[in-house]
Amino acid sequence: MSKIHITTQVNGDAVEFLCEPDETLLDVLRDRLNLTGAKEGCGTGDCGACSVTLNGRLVASCLVLGAEVAGSEIETVEGVGTADALHPVQQHLLDHAALQCGICTPGIIVAAKALLLQNPNPSEEEVRYWLAGNLCRCTGYDKIIRAVLSAAAEMRGENA
Amino acid sequence: MARVVIFGSLRAFTNGEGEMEIDAQTTRELLRKLATLHPALAETIEAGVSLAIDGEVFKEAWFTPISAESEVVVMPLMVGG
């Protein structure tokens, strides 16, 4: 099989890579671009650990082919915030102790950020349904939901 | 003499005896004497047991002191998740 050459943008940086025709975006990110923030929990679109945004849309990167993303804008957890400028979702997850093992956390962060962009004032139920595709086995979700709701409140300028 | 209680199914190896008195200063001494008293128990003791001394569970700590008034319960070796 000959490899395909792709040019695209990840976390604001122009990148190029060669990939197999059947290689997933998740594998490309992790194996070729050394961005291991997105995790493989299932490889079948069922766990959300590999969540990234593709042109602003939330996707399971294990279900997207690397060859499909030419000329796109991709954001992974590595692009959401930096140590000195965490996104409110990241900060509130930390403050609420909403991660135990932390393997689901990158996916939760990317998914929650995407939710708050389109719905700045979600109800608890809306957060729960939005995150229903992001499995967490450690926390029972309680603290994650609280963290997302209080991050939303902070982003709206309310005192959470 | 410490009072030694053997958990149910181990009694198959003590001729049905569930309780006995053993004179021992440490768990190691107690287990050795127990194995001598009931040779059929030796294999289980060798494989590992947990002991509850006056209600506190110990995993194989040989030199845990035992007093004359102690109650020592011999239990299977326990594990967790």
Binding site: T36, G102, Y141, D142 | G80
Partner: protein, 737 residues
């Protein structure tokens, strides 16, 4: 016991938190090195088959393939438990369950490795199989291994019966004779998987000289080192194991599944090898917990006093001998103060993946069955379920059903908190029921090593040997800060590799905060002693005349001299001139972990049209001794409760007649998702553990024990029919209606 704390009970941010929210944290499959190969494992498509031959020549001939191994590449190991572990990692002679590894390849890419698997030719001769516990235990069942039947068992059980345990005291027949109502029921629970989101992954590099490096996701890297060095016949000093960040374990990462295979491939290929399981492999070939078939008989007076109790537990634990039903038999009646009680258990082998611990292993199913019968008794006798449990509750001084006499325990406190909670008196909507259940777990101490260095700038490095699966670096830093009397963020705690700190047992049994905590406090005390000595030298007084108060050395009285306190930072700053670096360490095996009880309460609603059960409200009460970091304690309770809810309602290993696993993926093996649940209220009860200087008990496991019966009891009330089988999936509930 210390009671006024400065740091314990606060909620600081965990030291590994930033890396985990920015994607920097390195988990098992996140590490790569140059020149590394990718490995894949070929697995049996049959439930039970003789491996007649394996032809690997075509795979070996494929360009890019660097090594192929089968069971023949592993030499025999003497220790039988290590041999079972090895043969579970790679079959020898027979494939014992669907998904059992039979060969493995290492190649230059994932694609080539996958191609190579298809070229391996295995000739199987299919053998009869059994996957159900009762069938496997019956005489005449196909026996998995000969000669391992438990001693002293008769012909009424098959050779698959590898363990028999009995606990209890009194005379149960006399107990039942005194009862005014006796209920005797049979229950079944499905095998469930720990369901950690991170599949097993490792990176192995083993040279021909027997020196090796292994990076892996595990609950115990010393365990990995011991098992792998035994299986591969190398010295444990030569194999350095580093624990990656671990993406969940819950007991499932207390053994090895792939590490010996990766090491062997690496040795054969002479290159580093990365091996990561797929989710399907995780389900088919890493350990689930046991499934169970159980008979429970309890007698009660009309007033609610239990007069006698008997449990018979039959667990199946997969394709190799194991010992776990005893934990169920010990836990079954632990919550009650009983005169006449017996709990018996049988461990049984089947053609399923080898079981491994899952949070409070063995307890949830036994307690589910017992607490269901308790609920039915209360219902029939029209008794309040909490009052009845209070009347029978174990307390300090109770001779437990498994032998020892309890020290201070918090069951009564938890029951009383549950009774007083507004949840208990809230009105119930139609089609809704409220269930209550008690739960219990032992908690352990075990071997532990901690090493602490006081740096010249007044900061502290702490190395411990237990992988952090849920925030333990935070709680350990907090205990170190408390003991030393300095700020939390002056301390950095890391998990050392097997070459950097002494042996430590696996992170299991809810032991880490307890055992590493004690070792940390002792290491801090050793460092404090040295710091007092240095201050004494500077002041030119006796070391005994110096004491440590609030993070500083000070003269212990007027006679000792009149010097202002000298802080840790001040002493550290001159350490190079007063005798060299200051450090403290502790190695030990603390016991007295202290048992823990919980009480859960749940409101469930059952849709009579679909049979679908939804959780409306959930409150969990648990005695944790002393909560170091309350937010992480709540998190343990919430996480355990939700795993129990999944066990009660959805999760199960489904086997067909062909003995093949039908649902090896998250789509068909459905763990709870955010939209299935309400908030989980965690109520922390603190009855200090007399066996720990700060009163700590383990807290990680107890919370998975009560939810099964709590949910089932709620369903019984909601639909007016009691279920005797888990999971209570919608079709089963519809059938019951």
């Amino acid at each position: 016991m210390k009671q006024d704390f400065k740091i314990l009970g606060t909620r600081p941010i965990r030291p590994d938190g930033l890396d985990k929210v920015t994607g920097k944290a390195m988990f098992g499959s996140d590490k790569s090195v140059t020149g590394m190969l990718h490995a894949r494992i070929l697995r049996s498509p049959h439930a039970h088959a003789e491996i007649v031959s394996i032809d690997t020549s075509k795979a070996e001939a494929l360009a890019g393939v660097k090594a192929v191994i089968t069971g023949d590449d592993f030499a025999d190991v003497e220790n039988r438990w290590a041999r079972y572990t090895m043969q579970n990692c790679m079959a020898q002679g027979r494939a014992l369950y669907d998904g059992h590894a039979v060969a493995a390849v290492a190649a230059i890419s994932k694609t080539v490795a996958a191609e190579a698997l298809k070229l391996i030719e295995v000739e199987y001769k299919i053998l009869p199989h059994v996957t159900d516990v009762d069938e496997a235990m019956a005489p005449g069942a196909p026996v998995l291994h000969e000669g391992v039947k438990a001693r002293k068992l008769g012909d009424d059980v098959s050779g698959n019966t590898v363990g028999y345990y009995s606990f209890g005291h009194g005379d149960i027949e006399a107990g039942f004779a005194n009862a005014e109502l006796v209920i005797d029921r049979t229950f079944k629970t499905a095998a469930v998987h720990q369901g950690y989101i991170e599949p097993h992954g490792c990176l192995a590099d083993l040279g021909g000289d027997g020196r090796g490096e292994l990076w892996c996701s595990t609950q115990g890297h010393y365990m990995v080192r011991e098992v792998c060095s035994e299986i591969l016949g190398i010295d444990s000093s030569q194999l350095r194991v580093t624990a990656s960040e671990i993406g969940g374990g819950f007991g499932g990462k207390t053994t090895v599944f792939i590490e010996p295979v990766a090491l062997k491939l690496s040795q054969k290929a002479g290159k580093p090898v990365k091996l990561v399981m797929s989710r399907e492999e995780v389900f088919r070939a890493s350990g689930p917990t046991m499934s169970a078939s159980m008979d429970i008989k309890i007698g009660m007076t009309k007033a609610g006093k239990i007069t006698g109790a008997h449990a018979k537990l039959r667990y199946q634990g997969g394709a190799f001998p194991y010992q776990m039903v005893m934990m169920g038999a010990m836990s079954a009646f632990a919550a009650y103060d009983l005169e006449h009680v017996q709990a018996e258990g049988w461990d049984v082998m089947t053609n399923r993946p080898k079981m491994i611990s899952y949070r409070a292993p063995g307890a949830p199913m036994a307690v589910y069955a017992v607490e269901s019968v308790m609920d039915e008794l209360c219902q029939k006798l029209e008794l309040d379920p909490i009052d009845t449990r209070l009347m029978n509750a174990a307390r300090e001084g109770t001779k437990s059903s498994y032998g020892p006499t309890f020290k201070a325990i918090g069951l009564v406190e938890a029951l009383e908190a549950a009774k007083a909670h507004p949840h208990y008196s809230a009105p119930l909507a139609p089609n809704t029921g409220r269930g209550v259940s008690c739960g219990f777990w032992f908690n352990f101490g075990g071997q532990v090593s901690v090493s602490m260095a006081i740096n010249a700038d007044g900061t502290v490095n702490l190395i411990e040997g237990n992988p952090d699966i849920g925030g333990s670096r935070a709680s350990i830093s907090m205990m170190a800060a408390e003991a030393l009397g300095i700020e939390y963020d002056r301390i950095r705690t890391i998990v050392g590799d097997t070459a950097s700190v002494g042996f430590s047992d696996v992170t299991d049994g809810s032991r880490v905060t307890f055992a590493v905590g004690i070792a940390t406090i002792n290491a801090a005390n050793a460092a404090i002693k040295e710091m007092c000595k240095r201050a004494a030298k500077i002041w030119e007084i006796d070391a005994e005349a110096v004491e440590w108060v609030d993070g500083a050395a000070q003269p212990s009285g007027h006679n000792a001299g009149n010097f202002p306190p000298m802080s840790l930072a001040e002493i550290a700053a001159t350490s190079g001139k007063t005798g060299g670096p200051i450090a403290g360490h502790h190695e030990g095996a603390p016991d007295k972990a202290g048992v823990s009880f919980g009480v859960h309460m749940v409101d469930v609603e059952v849709d009579p049209e679909t049979g679908f059960t939804s959780i409306k409200r959930y409150t969990a009460f648990q005695d944790v001794g002393k909560a170091i970091h309350p937010a992480y304690v709540e998190g343990q309770i919430q996480g355990g409760a939700v795993q129990g809810i999944g066990w009660a309602l959805n999760e199960e290993y489904i086997y067909g007649e062909d003995g093949l696993l039908q649902n090896p993926g998250f789509l068909d093996y459905r763990i709870p998702v955010a939209s299935d649940l309400p908030m989980i209220d965690a109520v922390i009860i603190e009855v200090p553990n007399p066996g720990h200087p700060y009163g700590v008990r383990g807290c990680g496991e107890t919370a998975i024990v009560p939810p099964l019966a709590a949910v089932s009891n709620g369903v019984a009330q909601a639909i007016g029919v009691r279920m005797f089988e888990l999971p209570m999936s919608p079709p089963k509930i519809l059938k019951a209606l």
